[in-house]
């Protein structure tokens, strides 16, 4: 029934993506959020934040741009309301954290250490570093590693931390390696890629924030490529794959490329019950391909060309244990 992810046991391999499920409450109207792997909460910062001006979103072919600007209630209100609700509800939780400085990340990790009711921390390092002209932390190996090392140091050693990387770099494998060396227990791949739309009526950028993060099916090939490249250099680190997953088949691509679990983001906007649907579809597809345990499919597409295929499942299809 469970999926292993960096030493934690989850009810399944499908998670929500940070920022696409708020703190789970709204989605719980559409499906039982305790049945999926975990809710990854919207990245939280130390203080309340208003986010950016609107327009904050623009639809693009098979995707969308967003520039929300990390609107949120701040860590204290988050713990009191959101995390408390999730805990009460019995959902598994990965808390996503963000900061404008390494110190802010560390401070949030300190606060979290005083609390329980969550299973892991995802460190959103794809946000601007105020002390580096707003360059995002994840764009440089040193700034990425700096944040991860601080959060790892400040956090309960029993809580795994995932570094969430940006695809907007020349060499993502190097950044991933730096995060691993800095103590990341796992990686989350990928955050949105930077994009822009010009409104041809106003003849100005469509978003108030000028640029925004591109997400959705459009970026899936980029996400799979990033995952593949990272998996080639880090054969063992647990990875949460994401970027444009629409269905079980897309999710299975990420598993085969090296993910142990996947997050569903933008697709939730199309289909609010997508996470549970995708988890079920993934289970059926993996079983159909002869995997009784999903973990055997992880990185399977990297096998040697002449390595034997798993036997196709025969007539009586057995659904795998993690369904």
């Amino acid at each position: 029934m469970t999926t292993q992810l960096a030493g934690i046991d989850l009810p399944g391999p499908v998670l929500t993506a940070s920022g696409c499920a708020a703190a789970g409450k709204e989605l719980d109207q559409f499906f039982d959020i305790t049945a999926i792997g975990a809710v990854v909460t919207k990245s939280i910062m130390m203080e309340p934040r208003s986010g950016r001006a609107t327009p904050r979103m623009a639809e693009t072919p098979s995707g969308m741009l967003n520039s929300i600007g990390l609107q949120g209630p701040g860590i204290e209100a988050f713990l009191e309301h959101d995390l408390a609700w999730l805990r009460e509800r019995g959902a598994r939780v990965i808390v996503s954290i963000a900061g404008g400085t390494t110190q802010e990340f560390e401070a949030i990790a300190h606060v979290l250490r005083q609390h329980d009711g969550f299973d892991a921390i995802e460190v959103n390092i794809s946000c601007p570093n105020v002390s580096d002209r707003g360059q995002v932390f994840a764009c440089r190996a040193d700034s990425a590693a700096g944040v991860i090392a601080s959060v790892r140091r400040a956090s309960d050693p029993a809580i795994p931390i995932f570094a969430k990387l940006s695809p907007d770099v020349t060499d993502i494998a190097t950044i991933a390696q730096a995060c691993e060396r800095a103590g990341a227990d796992g990686l989350s791949l990928i955050n949105t890629t930077l994009g822009m739309v010009i409104d041809v009526t106003t003849m100005r950028p469509a978003l108030a924030g000028v640029t925004g993060g591109l997400s959705g099916p459009a970026i899936r090939p980029i996400a799979v490529r990033c995952l593949w490249q990272v998996r080639e250099v880090l054969p063992d680190i647990p990875i949460i794959g994401m970027g444009g997953i629409r269905n079980g088949s897309d999710a299975f691509e990420f598993i085969l490329a090296g993910a142990s679990a996947v997050s569903v983001g933008t697709t939730v906007f199309h289909d609010p019950s997508a996470p549970i649907r995708i988890q079920n579809e993934l289970a059926s597809l993996a079983a159909l391909r002869g995997f009784t345990r999903l973990r055997d499919a992880v990185s399977y597409a990297h096998r040697d060309p002449d390595q034997a295929r798993v036997e196709d499942a025969d007539g009586d299809l057995e659904l795998p244990e993690w369904v």
Binding site: G19, C20, A21, A22, E26, L27, Q29, F30, K42, E47, P48, R49, S50, G51, R52, A53, T54, P55, R56, M57, E59, P61, S62, G63, M64, N66, S67, I68, G69, L70, Q71, G72, G74, A98, G100, C127, P128, V130, G134, V136, A208, G209, T211, G212, G213, G216, P217, R246, N247, T266, T267, V268, F269, H270, D271, P272, S273
Partner: protein
């Protein structure tokens, strides 16, 4: 609590520049109240390049009948998604999430209400007018548009309301000008207690202002671009003053689309006013 259902197109008909779409939506009519909206998927995720749902006020509901529950939407063809919807044909399937949002608040007592609709903003007002009449309220309706073919709901309004006033900016129908021009008079004549409005932001701001000036309440259904429609993405926010006097960037899909007109900071929409909770310092904000 909203549901996600697979509906089937029952009919499409033209009304001026709009298309009125009737689609089955089992379970939805029973729980829909005036001001609720529906979010419709534009094709299958497997083949469509338009991945976000489109939001439409629920114009009408039929909970019985041979189709077992249908809803009516009024669609203006204003881009690829709405265009796709106007091209549907009887029998086509549609994926619907509804009812969404916070509906209009209805008065407990039989008060006097003015309903103001701009363009397809009239869509939710018909159902609202019916509910108000059921409660014994007086209903005066003002419908406006830039030009005659963008008016909606005139006949329905005439059927229900005590008075119906039409305005068009080009004078092609009714009184030339804007809805707020006759509104002040109507409010005085009908001793209006509350104004309900739906339409473009500029109109809502003007209506809210007229109501405030007259010292009465207004309820305005806003229209912000929405990515999710269910409260999880934070794309549909606008600055709204809370009970505590603090301005917050508030989600119009779950805390709206209907807001008290005096609480919305109309002039600041599209900005984050500096006194908003968590407004950016000079450091700039991450995406």
């Amino acid at each position: 609590m909203p549901v996600q259902v697979r509906g089937e197109v029952v009919s499409l008909r033209r009304a001026g520049l709009y298309t009125v779409l009737t689609v089955t939506a089992p379970g939805v009519p029973e729980i829909t109240r005036p001001g609720h909206f529906a979010a419709i998927a534009i094709g299958d995720l497997d083949s469509s390049g338009l991945i976000l749902r489109r939001a439409f006020s629920i114009h009408g509901v039929q909970s019985r009948g041979i189709y077992g529950g249908t809803i009516d939407l009024v669609i203006a063809d204003s881009g690829p998604g709405t265009h796709w919807l106007t091209q549907r044909r009887r029998g086509d399937a549609l994926d619907i999430v509804a009812p969404l949002g916070r509906p209009f608040s209805l008065p407990r007592d039989p008060v006097s209400c003015a309903l103001v609709g701009g363009g397809y903003g009239a869509a939710p007002l018909v159902m609202l007018a019916e509910h108000l009449r059921e409660r014994g309220c007086r209903v005066d309706v003002v419908l406006g548009a830039s030009t005659e073919d963008k008016l909606f709901g005139v006949l329905d309004a005439k059927r229900i309301a005590s008075t119906v006033t039409i305005t068009t900016e080009d004078g092609s129908a009714g009184v030339p000008g804007r809805v707020t021009d006759p509104l002040v008079d109507i409010m005085a004549r009908a001793n209006t207690d509350v104004v309900y409005a739906c339409g473009p932001m500029g109109m809502l701001a003007a209506v809210a202002d007229v109501a405030s000036q007259a010292g009465i309440l207004s309820q305005c259904a806003v229209e912000e671009a929405m990515a999710c429609g269910i409260g999880v993405c934070m794309s549909c926010v606008l600055p709204v003053i809370g009970d505590d006097g603090i301005t917050r960037m508030v989600r119009s899909c779950v805390e709206g689309p209907v807001f008290r007109g005096d609480r919305v900071r109309w002039a600041d929409i599209g900005t984050v006013p500096p006194d908003t909770l968590g407004a950016p310092s000079s450091e700039g904000i991450p995406r």
